[in-house]
């Protein structure tokens, strides 16, 4: 199994090189340079050119690329034009928020989707199955934006059950209180995003189970006289959950990338919100950094998926 994982990690090296090259090209294509915004209209053009030359902007592309990579490894992603802070600092503040929120909504999503998918698959064609299908139409068809706003309005403003914005209460002090407050702020957006994110898991699990039911190995199990409940828990559900588990890695990155809407609605300072702000204010160095970050995250997501798969599926484990 370790061999599989090591080989899989090695594959990531060329992937990261390609990704970094793409992002570098993207960064070069974006308007502006490190001096945009810091230079007034009266500065001598000669002086600007000298500054740019000193910064290496006239070097051949491969030298620039090399410098860019070296900087990257030193955690130097440039300055945010609008926030006047290093990009790394700007991102650092947000990443944690987004990761925790994504994790919570992922957990909620699985906690809801797995039992629903199992029920729908096991009793396909029954009334329960049809009710779940209708639920699925809603989570798939309703505009996320509207659901989030409604949820915020009802549970946040009307019922006052949950805070309506931010990540932490200003009154919270001490580790325990702070953590509790952060969690409290995450609950409503986490649940809403999680429930809306159930569609594909429910649908996929349902069809996997229906498919597994008619597999020969299930018939073998039944021919041993294994009681129906046991046939489901030991043979059908286990085998049907395998692709879901394998997909979890991708799900995580998808959620982190897809948290734009929920963070906007809940004024939750995370990556998604930062991305929107950076685009609207043309803060290109931040945009580039976020693209790079999500790209790397996606690569790690697929790595994670492959590792999970190699853990749960013996057919892969052995190789």
């Amino acid at each position: 199994m370790w061999k599989t994982i090591i080989r899989r990690v090695l594959i990531m090296i060329p992937q990261i090189v390609i990704l970094s090259a793409l992002v570098f090209i993207l960064a070069k294509l974006m308007p502006g340079d490190p001096f945009s915004g810091t230079i007034g209209p009266n500065t001598d053009p000669k002086q600007i050119e000298a500054l740019k030359r000193a910064a290496g902007l006239f070097d051949p592309w491969y030298v620039q690329y090399w410098h860019w990579i070296v900087n990257l490894f030193h955690g130097n992603l440039g300055q945010s034009y609008t926030l006047k802070q290093p990009v790394v600092t700007v991102l650092g503040n947000r990443i944690g928020n987004t990761v925790w929120l994504s994790l919570l909504s992922l957990i909620v999503s699985y906690a809801v989707a797995i039992p629903l998918g199992m029920t729908a698959g096991r009793f396909d064609g029954s009334r329960r199955d049809r009710a779940i299908t209708i639920f699925n139409y809603f989570t798939f068809g309703l505009p996320t934006f509207v659901v989030f706003l409604l949820g915020l309005y009802i549970f946040g403003y009307q019922l006052n059950w949950f805070p309506t914005s931010g990540t932490i209460s200003i009154n919270a002090s001490g580790f325990f209180e702070e953590t509790a407050s952060r969690f409290y702020h995450m609950i409503l957006p986490g649940i809403l995003a999680g429930v809306l994110g159930t569609t594909s898991t429910v649908q996929y699990l349902r069809s996997e189970i229906i498919d597994a039911k008619s597999q020969d190995y299930v018939r073998t199990a039944r021919s041993k006289g294994v009681p129906t409940n046991k046939v489901y828990s030991r043979h059908i559900f286990r085998n049907s959950l395998l692709p879901i588990a394998a997909f979890a890695g991708f799900q995580i990155t998808g959620l982190i990338g897809g948290s734009v809407v929920i963070e906007q609605v809940f004024s939750y300072p995370g990556m998604g919100q930062l991305f929107i702000t950076a685009i609207t204010s043309r803060d290109y160095s931040v945009v580039t950094a976020i693209v790079l970050f999500t790209g790397i995250l996606a690569l790690f997501g697929s790595l994670l998926s492959d590792i999970i798969l190699s853990l749960v599926d013996p057919r892969i484990r052995i190789e």
Partner: protein, 329 residues
Amino acid sequence: MKEETLLSINGVSVAFKINGEFYTAIDDVSLELHRDEVLAIVGESGSGKSTLATTVIGLHNMNATKITGEINFQNKEILELSEDEFNDIRGDEMGMIFQDPLAALNPLIRIGDQIKESLDVHSDMTEDQKQARVHELLNQVGIPHPERVAKQFPHQLSGGMRQRIIIAIAIANKPQLIIADEPTTALDVTIQAQILDLLKDIQRENHAGIILITHDLGVVAEVADTVAVMYAGEIVEQAPVATLFNDAKHPYTRSLLRAMPTIDSEDDELYVVEGAVPSIKDMDRNSDLFAPRIPWTKPDVGHPVLKEIAPNHYVRGESWREFKFKDEL
């Protein structure tokens, strides 16, 4: 020698629901199986062999299947059993060996655990005893290094090995009845022979009855005592094995025998029965169902019935009396 009757199937019909309508796949089949007997069921693909076997072991999806008739197994009317009652018998008093060894094992569960599952359900052995029994079974079905194989996963074994595992599962609790649905079709000839020998050994040990489903008449000649020939869900001829090979009557049986490759026949001389078994949706149950495939012969009028033409030799209809192959006309 008067053998004890183990299983008797009386007038069993099976219909499947397809798009809301029932279509008959097995029509009024009656068979008897005794201890120590091998009953072979032969017929082309689609003739209903697996459907009949699945009925005996009670594995049809009852939401979409209608079964009528009676099946008596060791003095129990098994069609009347509840799911729980049937689970007590399945895998204990009767075991089934399935057609496709590649798909019949769960890819995620270790071989040993898949065999042990039969013991978990039906025996009150301790874990150690079960473990020992698993190794004993693996040994019995001819698997080298049982301890190691028990810890392996199905994909690590060859097709022949997997078929042996499936046999080990089916016989784990020493069943009285073994249903083997084409146990050797997927295997090469030497392994086929080994598997058949193995089945015979197991039978001798437990005095079990075996229903052997196959479309390989060579296999039938080797191991069967009685043969039932099925076509379109009906038995068209049934006889002791020697009678069937020496004195077959029904045109279908004779066609099958003629199509059987022998050592001195060359490939291009092989007889072919034109056409195929009709789909259950297209069967006119009120006619001579095999007649369309021998158009030069005068068919029976209406639905031909099965008659005992000599002791223990049953043939359907009358058209066989006149039947000649085309080149004999």
